[in-house]
Symmetry: C2
Subunit: 247 residues, 2 copies
């Protein structure tokens, strides 16, 4: 199963000055692609914190997507933090330098060229409609924080991460979690599915949503049937009729 992590870099997200738009979007996209997301982290603009987190997650999952810290200003430290963490120098990439020079023309300033810097050993990955490639260093995909560019760049390379769909059904219950916990535990143990249980206190319609998911529809339907066998009819408010490919 292909696994991933998201690392959002920026003080502005932690202070609430800017609300995250990228993690919430990428969670949905990775789900649609069938990638299992294992972790999301918001870290401060601090080279040590960025480096520690990246060193750690790159060993735990197949692909790590970073967002932010790649512009020309003093608080853009992602490239140098990656390089320091992995013990490689920062180098100016000729292809990126040509793109930056072409884009800014006579308006070019020295700081713009920081956007042509990459950790040594990076490759540039092209794809989609956007002219600027994605910087790929080991299993890190270094994406910008500006939401429109983040999305366009990810969509340009998304196909390479496609890993097969998830199948999901939900059962909505008027019951208490403690009552159904033994049943959930038994069905979870006997079927090759993942069962989740999510209480709500603000929905008149139901009190618990139980989710059943797997990589194929058959096990999901079997586990749902086993759950329904064990539940009192009076507790079941609604069932998703069939296991659909879930996003």
């Amino acid at each position: 199963m292909r696994t991933a992590a998201i690392v959002l870099i920026g003080n502005e997200l932690l202070s609430g000055k800017v609300a995250d738009e990228n993690a919430i979007w990428l969670i949905g996209r990775l789900r649609a692609l069938g990638v299992q997301l294992r972790r999301v982290t918001f870290v401060a603009d601090d080279a040590q914190a960025i480096g520690d987190e990246l060193i750690r997650v790159t060993t735990q999952v197949d692909d790590v997507f970073t967002s932010g810290g790649v512009g020309p200003t003093h608080d853009d430290i992602t490239i140098e933090s990656v390089a320091a963490a992995f013990g490689v120098p920062v180098v100016r990439d000729a292809e990126l330098e040509a793109l930056v020079r072409g884009h800014f023309g006579e308006r070019l300033r020295a700081d713009h060229l920081r956007m042509a810097d990459v950790p040594a050993g990076s490759e540039l990955v092209h794809g989609g409609e956007i002219r600027w490639p994605v910087v790929h260093f080991r299993n890190l995909w270094i994406l910008p924080g500006v939401p429109q560019i983040f999305r366009a760049k990810f969509d340009g390379i998304a196909d390479r991460f496609r890993a097969g769909a998830f199948f999901l059904r939900s059962i909505y219950l008027d019951a208490d979690e403690g009552e159904i916990a033994p049943l959930l535990r038994r069905v979870q143990a006997e079927h090759c599915v993942e069962i989740g249980s999510y209480p709500r206190i603000d929905r008149a319609e139901y009190r618990i949503r139980v989710t059943v998911e797997a990589r194929a529809a058959g096990p999901v339907d079997d586990a749902v049937a086993a759950l329904l066998d064990g539940l009192a009819v009076a507790h079941v408010v609604r069932i998703d009729p069939a296991a659909g490919s879930a996003e």
Copy 2:
């Protein structure tokens, strides 16, 4: 300066089955209280992942707030994960047991009593209008995932985290980050403030928002004046008139 981290526990957040409501809310509340949030993590329902993250963040910040994994079902493993990570047993708390028994009465099931379990050495902290105390273990504050209860429990104990306001002003520019990068770097170095620079490509009104913040209004106003001195008049679209207590 009081610092904090948020750790959200639950596969449902990583798969997108449930959208986070708690981190986004607590980011705003901590900001309003003047607490510096250093890190937010979404981790899976995996004892090792939960334990590793908590061991790590509890040494880095003053207070760690967890959300989720404290109900009675098989996927609720926060308490046992904390206990295992810190090498203490799980114990049944008498006060919580009495609350659970009182709440469920004749409907009580064995699994309900899991909600009375805590890592040994925890204290219960009361506050606010909610009858159920918050479980406090070392510098961890263990909160539930259900948003309404998460909020009520945090608000019940919020006053103890109050740490003084942040002051923030924003300057909205029709300029390019590369042009202003040297100015931002110089003013950042000469003033005791934190300067941020956030480009947008979807606002007709401005292209960059520059933020200046500090723990007092004076340094913010001084740094804003220094920035305005260095900026071309034509670039400045709008300025927040005064340093306000920022949330």
